[in-house]
């Protein structure tokens, strides 16, 4: 809110006080596992949208979101093995925004991996981002899980290279979520070929977890809650019984199951987005499984934003949503039903009025 100022030091003090009274999110409680060797946790922060106003001035509201997520992640007990940043660190892909974002992310006490978002990419096509964070897509193995990071926000060459007179304009056209001049996201042929090859050497019983910025499923094209070649990517993951896709971009809680693949979105630290069904002129395909997040109260500027703590539970994602001004949510894969479920609100009669969007 206007005139509201909290320094990082103040926050840490507050956080310390919270720890003392045991009011920290449930996810920070130590979890016991049957086979502790295979189980681990990681944290997920996404969509910070660090936005430069001028010079060293940045939009305070978005800064506060990232600072808070980093500070709280550092308080996790047990410590996560690593942190993933899910893309859209910058708002308009500027060096200043990426630098300032990295400055805040550097406060993390853990190793972190970054995913490319469209707001990071369309100014210089990820050139400066690469200097800071490395390759646009890559994979690694950790405690028996194969992790893949995709750059899923690519689009046609014509749109990328031939349509816009300047890099700035290209960035602005893609930055507007509801801009009809935008273009559908895709992973693209080259990266799919790489993924096919990458997965060839992975044993079929290995849990595979893919991190992408856009959903590798089709929800609403108008806002790019969408990946154009989603089915092709899903087909590459089909041989793996335990496949998971974690995505950002949508600034809201979504989850779904498509055959073997579990989909879980993550929250933004910057601001929440409406569910596509709230746009009266459009048809959306929000997964039926999803119990929606509470409607946001704009008077609490961090409401309906947050970050995630993920328990790998022997190969499947249990997503703990740490929501700043709402009750936390946990969405975990249920082996009995074969799909992700909210731990409290899944049954129709358990849902609460604020989860009804219109």
């Amino acid at each position: 809110m206007r005139g509201f100022r909290t320094t990082r030091r103040d926050f840490i003090k507050t956080a310390g006080a919270l720890t003392a009274v045991g009011a920290l999110p449930v996810s920070m409680v130590e979890l016991a596992f049957a086979d502790s060797q295979n189980n681990f946790t990681f944290a997920y922060i996404s969509d910070a949208h660090i936005q430069q106003i001028k010079g060293a001035k940045f939009v305070r509201n978005w800064d506060r979101g990232l600072i808070r997520a980093v500070a709280e992640t550092n308080l996790l007990q047990p410590k996560p093995d690593f942190v993933v940043f899910g893309g859209d660190l910058a708002q308009l892909g500027k060096k200043e925004e990426l630098d300032h974002g990295l400055e805040m992310l550097s406060k993390l006490n853990y190793k972190f991996h970054c995913v490319m978002g469209e707001h990071d990419y369309y100014y210089d096509l990820g050139k400066y981002w690469s200097e800071l964070f490395g390759p646009h897509y890559y994979s690694w193995d950790h405690k028996g899980v194969h992790f893949v990071t995709l750059n899923s926000i690519l689009t046609s060459d014509e749109w990328t290279f031939n349509r816009w007179p300047t890099d700035e304009q290209r960035m602005l056209e893609m930055a507007g979520l509801d801009n009809p001049n935008g273009s559908p996201f895709m992973v693209g042929e080259k990266q799919r070929a790489w993924l096919r090859k990458d997965l060839e050497k992975v044993k079929r019983n290995t849990p595979v977890v893919v991190f992408s910025h856009s959903p590798i499923q089709k929800i609403y094209k108008g806002w790019n809650f969408w990946t154009d070649d989603a089915e092709e990517v899903q087909a590459l993951l089909r041989p793996f019984p335990d496949a998971t896709v974690v995505y950002g971009h949508v600034h809201q809680i979504q989850y779904n199951q498509i055959r073997n693949i579990t989909f879980s979105s993550v929250m933004a630290t910057a601001w929440p987005w409406p569910y596509p069904q709230s746009y009266a002129q459009a048809e959306s395909h929000l997964p039926k499984l999803t119990v929606q997040m509470n409607r946001a109260d704009p008077f609490f500027e961090r409401d309906a934003t947050g970050w995630q703590f993920i328990n790998m539970e022997s190969g499947r994602v249990a997503m703990n949503y740490n929501l700043y001004n709402n009750t936390d949510r946990t969405v975990a894969f249920n082996r009995k039903t074969g799909h992700p479920e909210d731990s409290v609100y899944q049954a129709a009669d358990r849902r609460i009025a604020p989860q009804i969007h219109y």
Partner: protein, 137 residues
């Protein structure tokens, strides 16, 4: 008294109508008129859309569309309503002004400011077809 004044006035109108050869009736309009009214409205909607995505509306570069793509989650059909955070019943424009002051760190607009009318027009247009629900939370 009133009659006396009315008679010359009516006579004058009749004279004009006869002179122009057109019968003017207040409730008659043509397709052309309808088209013009739609065009006038849509030109204001278009201005509203331009303001909606403009980084210049506030002072920090944040645009309305950043949080409200296609003006979604603005619920114009529910206003006037009790805005519990403000403790009173308000019209939609009070929330527009709240957003201008807070997330956009800018100045409020007067009710008759053409910019306010344009923003209201755009919001209502994106919500067309939705039933009125005044007071609904």
């Amino acid at each position: 008294m009133a009659k006396k004044i009315m008679i010359p006035a009516v006579a004058a109108v009749v004279a004009v109508v006869l002179a122009s050869g057109i019968l003017i009736l207040a409730d008659e309009f043509t397709k052309k008129d309808v088209k013009r009214w739609e065009d006038e409205f849509m030109s204001v909607v278009k201005k509203g859309r331009e303001l909606w995505v403009s980084p210049e509306l506030g002072t920090n570069g944040v645009a309305c569309a950043q949080c409200h793509p296609n003006a979604a989650n603005t619920h114009p059909e529910t206003y006037p309503k009790f805005q519990r955070q403000l403790g009173r019943v308000i019209p939609l424009r009070d929330m527009i002004n709240w957003c201008l002051q807070n997330p956009l760190e800018g100045e409020t607009l007067k009710a008759d400011d053409p910019k306010m009318v344009a923003l209201e027009s755009y919001i209502a247009y994106e919500r067309r077809g939705v039933a009125m629900a005044p007071g609904k939370h």
